[in-house]
């Protein structure tokens, strides 16, 4: 049963993608219906998988040779991310009905989104390293294609190529690790790797550990690869909500969480992970404070929150990081979709041109504020529970400097999101564009997310039990929801953090009184806008890749004879090796 559900979760979106593409843009209503149906069906399949968790391989397709077996496994970690991918995917597709109304080439849009949803589900449900790499690449391809969806806009195309190159450079780390595992262990199975990690030679294991860390950092836009995510905001808002907030960027965190038992013994790895997480979180929070584009603000916020998840893994809190992954996926998707509604209405993305939109868009205001409160970590909402759990883990198991900086970041988080809310919905109107509240399809997507932001905290108990039952290598213990929630409420770390959050809010509210203090920090503004110099590093990576590609272009002239000659030369080399190599 589980294997059928797994195949449905991956296959239904792909079937939908083909069908939508075949329609050929002649009937947009049909395309909308097909897209929504198939993504909802995939969501149902993923939800049904919750009833069949297992720590054993559910489905094995022997392919043989160097490809090993293609195996699929539905354990807690996989089911969580598959449900998030398909669920939030369906909501994003529903939102797109209104957001992309009147756009040309809907077929390309929907088929890419559906293809992506299927690939993401496949990435988390597979237990073969090679297959994971293949799905990883497919998600990167779809992300690039969707960022440059408006391919007559040079900024969008540049953003797409930048995202592609940076995530692919990281992907090399994943491929290298997969091949190393195969050559040392003879199999691509993840469970094999987790079981026998200690038998691998130290050097190989270290290369794998840091290779995977690089791949995760590039995919999840962590330091030092964090500049592609803000530039990826050229994508349509539903795409940003799905890919760059709720699913693809979580793939890096998923990778680290999945392979944590194998790498936690590598000297220096855990510290490196903590460092990456803390620096990303802090830097991105500062950059968000100075952002003047609504979507870029949310992008920096995503980088920062992913930093929290990475930090949690570094201190050993796997459950805390995945719990925060769930909360973040829900409230960040909510924020992006609500921001999409605002941008759709106001016709601009610049914060400076918004203001006073609250009275014209009350429903959007409510859901946005709900998401903002969850992000800031205000009690009762899901962000509070998961963030406090992370900080509690950090205090108990991690370095003190890490904890202090993350605490500071929590305060900054509250400050920047409050600033965002204020600049968009309150104050005086700086914009004369005719406004409208969120349209029906948008609301159908927004309200469930808002409700979920309040309620997913209650899922912590069942989630913990699911993880403990199906992740044998991770050493987790399961507690009931009540126990977890009370534990969080009673921890001193929680009260400390809440205090800092309140200070962050107060800092913004009393900004006029605190103006002299802020003027001291204004010098941070310009470097913050330039991503503290990392923009140049990333741009150098992109430029050198494109230079190498240009150089290799000389071998591709399109002259058929030369291509055949090339094939023959390859044949001769292989035959020579066979004849004399033995």
């Amino acid at each position: 049963m589980a294997s059928t559900l797994i195949l449905l979760t991956i296959g239904l979106p792909w079937a939908g993608a083909v069908l939508v593409w075949l329609d050929g843009n002649r009937r947009p209503r049909l395309q909308n219906t097909l897209a929504v149906t198939f993504s909802l069906a995939a969501g149902a399949a993923a939800l049904a998988l919750i009833a069949f968790p297992s720590s054993q391989t559910s489905f094995r397709l022997p392919v043989g040779g160097i490809f090993g077996d293609f195996t699929f496994l539905a354990d807690g970690l996989g089911i969580l991310l598959a449900v998030i991918a398909t669920g939030i995917g369906s909501l994003a597709v529903i939102f797109s009905i209104d957001y992309m109304r009147g756009e040309a080439e809907l077929g390309r849009y929907y088929s890419l989104i559906l293809f992506f949803i299927g690939a993401m589900a496949g990435l988390v449900l597979t237990s073969s390293l090679l297959l994971m790499f293949i799905f990883w690449e497919i998600t990167a391809l779809c992300s690039y294609a969707l960022i440059s969806f408006h391919n007559d806009d040079p900024k969008a195309v540049r953003g797409g190529i930048k995202a592609l190159i940076i995530t692919q450079v990281g992907g090399l780390g994943l491929l290298g690790g997969a091949l190393l595992a195969f050559s040392s262990l003879g199999s691509y199975e993840i469970s094999e790797l987790l079981k026998n990690a200690h038998t691998l030679p130290q050097a190989a294991l270290a290369w794998m550990a840091f290779g995977f860390l690089a791949a995760a950092a590039a995919k999840s836009a962590q330091f030092p690869f964090h500049t592609w995510l803000p530039d990826a905001m050229e994508a349509p808002s539903p795409v940003s909500a799905l890919i760059h907030a709720a699913t693809m960027v979580n793939a890096g965190v998923y990778l680290l969480a999945r392979f944590y038992p194998a790498f936690e013994g590598v000297p220096g790895w855990k510290t490196a992970v903590v460092l990456v997480g803390v620096v990303s979180a802090l830097m991105a929070a500062v950059m968000a404070l100075f952002a003047d584009d609504l979507k870029r603000l949310l992008a920096y916020s995503t980088v920062s929150q992913l930093g929290y998840m990475v930090y949690a893994i570094g201190v050993g809190g796997i459950f805390a990081s995945q719990f925060h992954l769930l909360s973040h996926a829900v409230f960040k998707a909510l924020l992006f979709l609500a921001a999409g509604a605002v941008i759709h209405a106001a016709g601009t993305r610049a914060l400076g041109e918004m203001g006073g939109l609250g009275s014209a868009m009350p429903r959007v205001r409510i859901v946005f504020i709900t998401g903002a409160l969850a992000l800031a970590g205000i009690p009762v909402l899901n962000g509070f529970w998961s963030k406090e759990l992370i900080l509690e883990n950090g205090l108990e198991h991690g370095p003190v400097w890490g904890y202090t900086l993350m605490l500071l970041t929590a305060g900054l988080t509250a400050a920047y999101i409050f600033r965002g809310v204020w600049m968009v919905f309150y104050g005086s109107r700086r914009n004369t564009h005719p406004l409208h509240d969120a349209q029906p399809a948008m609301q159908v997507a927004l309200w469930p997310l808002a409700v979920a932001s309040v309620l997913t905290g209650l899922l912590s108990g069942p989630l913990g039990k699911l993880f403990a039952a199906t992740l044998p290598f991770h050493d987790l213990e399961a507690l009931t929801t009540r126990a977890i929630l009370i534990d969080i409420l009673e921890a001193p770390a929680t009260w400390l953090a809440t205090g800092v959050v309140v200070m962050g809010l107060a800092a913004w509210w009393f900004r006029k009184e605190l103006a002299p203090v802020f003027r001291f920090f204004l010098w941070l503004g310009s470097p913050a806008r330039n991503s503290f110099g990392f923009e140049d590093f990333n741009r150098a990576v992109v430029r050198s890749t494109q230079a190498v590609a240009d150089l290799l272009r000389h071998t591709q002239t399109g002259y058929l004879t030369m291509n055949v000659a090339g094939i023959l030369i390859g044949l001769v080399i292989i035959l020579a090796i066979l004849a004399w190599g033995g």
Binding site: H554, T557, Y559, V564, L568
Partner: protein, 103 residues
């Protein structure tokens, strides 16, 4: 190397293969490329049947040969259709003029 019948036949089959291969490298017309490809595949078919004969596995060799034949026919058909389209859209079948990726 013995001068037995199978060896001579094999040398002959390889020569046929070589003729086709040389053709792939030396012709300048797109349709001639497809002709050369056909010659190569015929040599492969002969080699398969010869191998089947020598090992006593004639039916197996025949089924494999059938697969190769079908695949090659489909390739030839689509290749010719493509060549016709190329002629229609680009106006020429000359490989030298078709190298449009060249800077």
């Amino acid at each position: 190397m013995t001068l037995s019948m199978p060896s001579i036949l094999l040398v002959g089959i390889f020569s046929l293969f070589g003729v086709g291969l040389y053709g792939l490298l030396a012709v300048r017309n797109l349709i001639k490329v497809i002709v050369a490809l056909q010659v190569v595949v015929k040599a492969v078919l002969l080699a398969l049947v010869l191998a089947g004969n020598l090992r006593g596995q004639v039916p197996l060799a025949q089924s494999l040969g059938l697969t190769v034949l079908v695949a090659d026919t489909v390739v030839a058909v689509i290749g010719l259709a493509l060549a016709v389209q190329v002629r229609r859209c680009l106006g020429t079948l000359d490989l030298h003029a078709l190298a449009s990726l060249r800077r």
